[in-house]
């Protein structure tokens, strides 16, 4: 459980940056890309891209494979699924609770108006 939690923190921290999210979206769309392909659309230097890839790799969000001098990057979806699962659990709880809160507050409002008459 504690491990899961640290994993979640890493996933969410890794996702908390627009460049890294753009990289993930691109990998999802294209299936895979080389490091230099990934660096091209961004107005940042290759070392900065490597740093972002390092963060994504640490979070388990990507895999890197090397063939000769070319490093290919691919999306690894499992940590994102875990993160989605975390969100879904809260969504189930809160979506129903807020519906119940709304009905309750509306009953209270009606009672308050009646009492004021």
């Amino acid at each position: 459980m504690v491990n899961n939690d640290a994993e979640l923190d890493r996933t969410f921290a890794a996702l908390g940056d627009p460049t890294r999210r753009a990289i993930l979206v691109r990998l999802e769309r294209e299936g895979g890309a080389t490091v230099s392909e990934l660096a091209r659309p961004f107005a940042i230097r290759l070392p900065a891209v490597m740093k972002h890839l390092g963060v994504l790799d640490d979070a388990g969000l990507i895999t890197r494979s090397k063939a000769g001098r070319v490093v290919t990057v691919r999306l690894a979806p499992k940590p994102m699924r875990t993160a989605l699962e975390w969100l879904r659990r809260y969504e189930r709880f809160w979506s129903s609770s807020l519906d119940r809160l709304a009905s309750y507050a509306e009953r209270k409002e009606t009672e308050t108006r009646k009492a004021a008459k």
């Binding site: 459980m1 504690v2 939690d5 979640l8 923190d9 969410f12 921290a13 996702l15 908390g16 940056d17 627009p18 999210r21 753009a22 993930l24 979206v25 999802e28 999306l75 690894a76 979806p77 499992k78 994102m80 699924r81 993160a83 989605l84 975390w86 969100l87 659990r89 809260y90 969504e91 189930r92 709880f93 809160w94 979506s95 129903s96 609770s97 807020l98 519906d99 119940r100 809160l101 709304a102 009905s103 309750y104 507050a105 509306e106 209270k108 409002e109 308050t112």
Partner: protein, 147 residues
Amino acid sequence: MTSLTLVRRIAARPAIVFDALTTPDDIACWWGPDAGPVLAVQVDVRVGGSFRIRFRTLDGSEHESSGEYLEVIRPTRLAMSWRWSGSEDPGESVVEIDLRAIGEGTELTFTHSRLRDEDTRRSHEAGWNGALDKLQRNLASGQRNSL
């Protein structure tokens, strides 16, 4: 993605909604995802005050959440730290609830976020809606990149 946002339009004025969110007797009437009972409510509704709410769902399982109030502005805003007790989810997160008067009712905006760093969260939200929605949908439906 790191945060959950829900919006509800409620036919009750903000003060009534706010009190329903913060008064123990009221909380006991709606808290929880189903008609299972609320077993205990302790709230100290002031900045730095804590809350602890225990409830049972209809499947018989018991759950407890607790945290501290971070902002208490009646009747417009409530923010609190949040954790599930026990081993359910050891991580802490933040719940924010904003109430805005619309006509004679209230628009409630609820956010539950994992990230505690406000700037990170803001930048995240600014960038999230859009491109990654698609990614999230695809991952959620398991259309691609299956495990």
